[in-house]
């Protein structure tokens, strides 16, 4: 990777965006805004993939995460919106998070441990070592060495999607029972 100043600035900027967005995801009370912050994080990670010269990963990240998963999440937020509306007018008693202090201690401790473990790696790894992976190599690996995991992942994907349709399917209800998503 050409270590020019512009790339460094772009990497730091993207990292800052990713971390601030992640902070918003875990701290915002409004779930819809948290989901949109997740979109910011995902786009920032995609930009980091581009900076790491993993273009295909960046495209997949944008297509799958921002295009599919985020849409799903936003739909789920809207479908369950009445639950949020039912709890939020009471305001104060229902907080959106709990046990913040112990969780903060645990996560900062985890970060410290991770840094301690990877410290030697950060110092010893050669900065300018390898050539970037090109798309042809990746594609060839996916259909030769990793063909079995690749196929298994696609099977898992089909199974998961069919299963989620089966789980979320509206079953016929006895008369008078409220059905989610339909106004009385």
């Amino acid at each position: 990777m050409p270590t020019s100043l512009g790339l460094h600035i772009a990497a730091w900027g993207c990292s800052l965006v990713v971390l601030l967005g992640a902070l918003a995801v875990v701290s915002l009370d409004n779930l819809f805004r948290a989901a949109l912050s997740l979109g910011v994080v995902l786009l920032g990670v995609a930009a980091l993939f581009v900076l790491l010269e993993a273009d295909f990963l960046a495209f997949v990240q944008i297509l799958v995460y921002v295009g599919a998963i985020l849409t799903l999440v936003v739909f789920a937020v809207m479908l369950t919106a009445r639950a949020h509306a039912a709890t939020s007018p009471d305001a104060a008693p229902v907080s959106s998070s709990r046990q913040q202090l112990p969780a903060a201690i645990v996560s900062v401790g985890l970060f410290g441990i991770l840094m301690l473990v990877t410290r030697t790696l950060l110092l010893t790894v050669p900065i300018q070592s390898a050539t970037p992976v090109d798309l042809q190599t990746l594609g060839r690996e996916l259909i030769t060495k990793f063909v079995l995991p690749f196929e298994v992942v696609s099977l898992v994907f089909v199974a998961a999607l069919v299963g989620s349709v089966a789980v979320a399917l509206t079953k016929p209800r006895p008369a008078g029972a409220p059905v989610a998503g339909r106004r009385p």
């Binding site: 990777m1 875990v26 993939f49 990963l57 369950t80 709990r98 690996e141 995991p149 992942v153």
Partner: protein, 98 residues
Amino acid sequence: MVPTLLIVSSALFSLGVYGVLTRRNAIALLLSIELILNAASLNFAVFSRLYGQAQGQAFALFVIALAACEAAVGLAIIIALYRTAKTVLADQVTLLRG
């Protein structure tokens, strides 16, 4: 620059763990899990770039695909749960409490 992205990925992972530990809403829990999975795939991409190996990117692709599965199944479960228990707060669902 490339190894310092490991710090970013560790911080992203820790923030995701913080979200999983603190959030009460099940959808917000899923969002935090997405943060954790993103940290993992970022880590794979960093090591793939450092050592010039395509395996890292292949596994990052698998992580992204499985994250899509996880999101679909998780959100379906949450919607079914909302129909049954009329809540999406994970600590208010006590259907299995003896």
